[in-house]
Amino acid sequence: MALRVLAFARLRELLGFGERTLDVGSAATLDDVWTVLTAASPEAGRMRASTRFARNGVVVDGSAHVVDGDEIALLPPVGGG
C-alpha cells in the first residue's frame, strides 16, 4: 500500500523530508505510520503527543486506518497568525 506523506515545520526538518511516498502493510494505522517514520529520529518520536495527523485533508486520530493512495500529513503544533 503506497501512501503520500507530508511533514511540516520542525517535523519536516527532523525527518528530512517535506513529502515522500511510503509503503505500508494493509491494516496499518496512522500510529503505525508514525512509528515507521520516526524510527530513526528519537527527537521526532518525542513529538507524538503534540502532533496531529491529517488523512486526505481531514484531521483524524492515530488509530485511524490508512488505505492505498492516502495523503497523510504530520502536523506539529501550529504557529500561524
Partner: protein
C-alpha cells in the same frame, strides 16, 4: 476572499472584498511581525511561515462559514502569508463587513483566534545569532 501565499498583504483589497451597500461596519485585523518573541529575548532577524496550503485554505473557508453561522450575515476575508516576511510587515489579515459593528468585531476576533488555534500554518524565527526556532501559539 481566502488566500494563502507569499505576496505582501493588500488590506485595501480585503476591505473591497467585504464591502456591500447593506453593510455599515468593517472591522479588520492585521498581525504584524515583531522584533522579539514573547519569552525569548534574542532579537529576531527574519520570519518564515510554512503552510499546508490545501488544508489551511479549507480551514479558512470553515472559519468563514462558522463566523457567518455565529454572527449573522457578513462578508469575511482571510489572508495569510507564506515564506519570508520582513519585520514589521503583516503576516495575516482578516476583514469582516457586516450590517452592524458588534458583529464585525466579534466575527473578526473569532476568526483570528480560531486561525491561530488550529490552522495548519507554522512560524520559524531566525535570530541574529544564527539560531532558529519554530514558535507554537499558546493554547487559548
Amino acid at each position: 476572499m481566502i488566500a494563502i501565499g507569499p505576496e505582501p498583504i493588500d488590506l485595501d483589497a480585503l476591505i473591497a472584498a467585504v464591502g456591500s451597500p447593506a453593510h455599515g461596519a468593517i472591522c479588520t485585523f492585521l498581525g504584524t511581525t515583531r522584533e522579539t518573541s514573547p519569552g525569548d529575548e534574542r532579537p529576531v532577524e527574519a520570519l518564515d511561515y510554512e503552510a499546508y496550503v490545501e488544508l489551511a485554505r479549507a480551514d479558512f473557508e470553515a472559519i468563514a462559514a462558522e463566523a457567518r453561522e455565529r454572527f449573522g450575515p457578513l462578508e469575511i476575508a482571510i489572508v495569510h502569508r507564506t515564506g519570508r516576511v520582513a519585520l514589521g510587515e503583516a503576516s495575516v489579515a482578516v476583514a469582516v463587513g457586516s450590517p452592524h459593528r458588534g458583529a464585525s468585531f466579534d466575527a473578526c476576533e473569532f476568526a483570528i483566534d480560531t486561525l491561530k488555534a488550529r490552522a495548519p500554518i507554522w512560524k520559524r524565527e531566525t535570530y541574529r545569532d544564527g539560531g532558529t526556532a519554530w514558535i507554537a501559539n499558546a493554547p487559548t
